[in-house]
């Protein structure tokens, strides 16, 4: 994503400068460890690219973009816990509970979520935090359905577990850019396709999820269709979508 290098640097600087758990002593060490674990930052970059295309300044967008990355990171830390997915590694490094112990990992996730909402509430427009809260709630609901295998196919589950936070990445950017709700639907339709595409690519690369349910060929077919629809949605937006298009074109080759 060469065109996003500026956004990426802005984002990393902003994340590094966050006063994480200022009253929690060394808790910030664990929070920084998981935040700096080499993720591709797809969600916050999508937020920044959307907001810029919709007319907002990057500096205005950074709290929302960072909040979304913190919610995503919170979910990884808790999903990795022994009681949930029991993953000892995350992107090649010891996961939080292996590095810091289970108690600190639980609190690290909690603190990331609280910090995410602190950031989302920096805006005077309450819609940013509302959108984030609803997406977070849906994501946790999806994780519950996954853990308890209580209902739903893979695509419905992915829509909750991944899709809603992707939608919020775009939705929060639109609120920051003061795009009224009545003009948001083409953007939200794009978000839907990007979230679907991202998760299908992820499943194809990991050989799990929808690939197990329907086979790799079918997963690739759906991914190609989602990518085509995303491109069509992009072409319909009456703004400069270069940076957004780079994110979409970057997805079919890797996930994070």
């Amino acid at each position: 994503m060469p065109g996003n290098r500026g956004s990426r640097e802005l984002l990393e600087d902003y994340l590094e400068g966050l006063p994480l758990a200022p009253e929690g002593g060394e808790l910030a060490v664990a929070m920084r460890y998981v935040l700096q674990s080499g993720g591709k930052r797809v969600r916050p970059l999508l937020c920044l690219a959307t907001g810029k295309a919709a007319g907002a300044e990057p500096s205005e967008l950074l709290p929302a973009a960072a909040a979304i990355e913190l919610v995503h990171t919170f979910s990884l830390v808790h999903d990795d816990l022994p009681a949930l997915d029991d993953d000892a590694l995350r992107r090649g490094r010891p996961s939080a509970h292996v590095e810091f112990g289970e108690a600190v990992a639980i609190l690290t996730g909690d603190a990331l979520l609280a910090e995410a909402f602190r950031l989302a509430c920096l805006y005077d427009a309450p819609e940013v935090a509302r959108e984030l809260a609803e997406a977070t709630s849906a994501m946790i609901g999806g994780q519950y359905l996954d853990v308890t295998s209580s209902q739903g196919g893979v695509l419905a589950l992915n829509r909750l577990k991944t899709g809603r936070l992707f939608s919020a990445s775009i939705g929060c950017a639109l609120w920051v850019a003061r795009i009224p709700e009545a003009r948001q639907s083409p953007w939200r339709a794009l978000a839907e396709e990007i979230g679907l595409l991202f998760q299908l690519v992820d499943d194809i690369m990991d050989g799990d999820g929808y690939v197990v349910e329907a086979g790799e060929e079918e997963a690739r077919r759906l991914a190609d269709e989602a990518a085509a629809r995303a491109r069509a949605r992009l072409a319909d937006l009456p703004v400069d979508t270069t940076e957004l298009a780079e994110i979409v074109e970057g997805l079919p080759t890797r996930a994070s």
Copy 2:
């Protein structure tokens, strides 16, 4: 607290009517289980009593009051987990991880926190959710310091673990009642005393915390002083503080 019976009923009805994790299937069952575990609702009742004294309608205050109770309940669910305090019982019933398993208990806490922020963001004034986010972050920091025994005496720890959410119970009510920041300090000074008093009473009843550090007699002495200062603060407020006074007078006889 007979004078608060109206507030208590309003609050219970509101909590019962919350659409908890609407997309999380049975996750709402676990959320309701921990929310209906017989707590005394001191924090949300303090929020309602403060807001009413400051001129707000109870109906306006309910989302903030409920949000505070949800944050408190989230903290209990996660604190009870085996990796943290490992408490099998909570108010005489199996704690969440015993009743539903550890994975569901973790997600239940997470979902309560997300729902708390959804409620706090229902207000157009972003200060309500900001205050809640900062208090939540401090509370989690306090729990980290407690778990890792890394620093601080009992009183400093209590101030983070308990005091900050008590302060937010009053602070959020002030924002809902549109009391400008410049006029909030007498109320916030009251909140400080109530939080201190609550935790000292709790330590005295449980024979832990500050009682272990300084002895029961010293704890009682500090509690009496805090109660006296709280009464003086109440007397100084130029509004009807009957309901608030009932909460303060109820504290030295029980905690929740």
